[in-house]
Amino acid sequence: MSIVEETRIALLEMFPEFAAADAAARAAADKIDDEMETMIDEMDSIEPATEGDAPAGGDDEVEAAEPAEAATEPVPEPEEPEEEGPRENGVMLTDHAARGTDIDVLCAPDQVVQAARIMDESGFFLEAITGVDWIKDDKLEVIYDYNQYGQEQCRVVVRTLIPRSEPEIPTISDVMPSANWHERETHDFYGIKFIGHPHLIPILLPEDADFHPLLKDFKP
């Protein structure tokens, strides 16, 4: 199994409602695979048979993930995620060549610690934390980028949306010590309060700074 697939399954722990469906789909896919293998063994001409019998779609995504995606309805298609309305929470595979990331997770604000723990156990390191100010939707997006040292590339982005009026989110600095500085920086720039952070003082701005320059309505 590829590392992307392994990580996807690990991350699905966060969403039990999809995990069961996903496991079932994977079992079905395995079964199909097994059946196919036996069929392939029986047949002489391999190529046309696989193409004809391959389950749903012929996308450039990881093959093993395909049937799973087809089975778990709430997971949107990777091609056009922003097609109909806001995206729902869940795990999504993205095209590395087009996006630079492999797995994209949208979760509730209180799930980021769980996500960090899963990533930590899977041997990932934290690349960056940042915010995005969606002033039109009155929301702040917090983005966590994870990466790993393996020879196979797998970059995971975990994102969550919090209300702009009450920007609070639990800290992950006790799981990942590198988050300490990243969270302080995000606090500087966006005013996001990381609940439970040991030392949430300005890191890049002057010690007495009371402004958050990367908010879209900031005026110096």
């Binding site: 701005l205 002057p206 010690e207 402004f211 320059p213 900031f218 005026k219 110096p220």
Partner: protein
């Protein structure tokens, strides 16, 4: 910031002053004070090719108490402002300031809309004697700046200034 008026002493030793300034001009001790990119060009100037010691200014001193000239090499931010001012105040008289690079002259590329953290020019916080434009200035420009400061001190230039039209005839 306006010009600083240092009251002159009642008794003047014209010839002695001249001699002192000649000595000072030929042994300007800059302070080791790199802020940003320009600091690397300042290091290059001290390095083997440009060799600032030809002009007696190679003694980079980390302590402001031992330095004559402060080369502000880089951007001054709001957080750094107080430290720069303190360093300048700690230098003993007579002292001079060279603003090296566009950031130290006026904020350079960081003078922008929504500027919240950059001080637009070293002359906002202390008197500056020589401005060296460039982003970053070449080492030759820094050498020229030092010679300009010498000229300011002694009233005469050590080397003749090469006119642009003469460069063609020299090569």
């Amino acid at each position: 910031m306006g010009t600083e008026n240092v009251p002159s002493s009642i008794v003047q030793f014209a010839q002695l002053d001249k001699l002192l300034y000649l000595c000072r001009a030929n042994s300007l001790w800059p302070m080791t004070f790199g802020l940003a990119c320009c600091a690397i060009e300042m290091m290059s100037t001290g390095g083997s090719r440009f060799d600032i010691s030809r002009f007696g200014a190679e003694v980079f001193r980390p302590s402001p108490r031992q330095a004559d000239v402060m080369i502000v090499a880089g951007t001054i931010t709001k957080k750094m402002e107080l430290a720069v001012k303190t360093l300048y105040d700690q230098m003993s008289e007579p002292k001079w300031v060279i603003a090296m690079g566009n950031c130290a002259i006026c904020g350079g590329p960081f003078k922008c809309k929504n500027n919240y953290n950059v001080v637009e020019g070293a002359d906002k916080i202390m008197p500056v004697d020589v401005y060296i434009p460039g982003c970053p200035p070449r080492p030759e420009a820094l050498l020229e700046g030092i010679m300009t400061l010498e000229e300011k001190l002694t009233g005469s230039r050590r080397w003749p200034r090469i006119q642009p039209e003469k460069i063609g005839s020299l090569t």
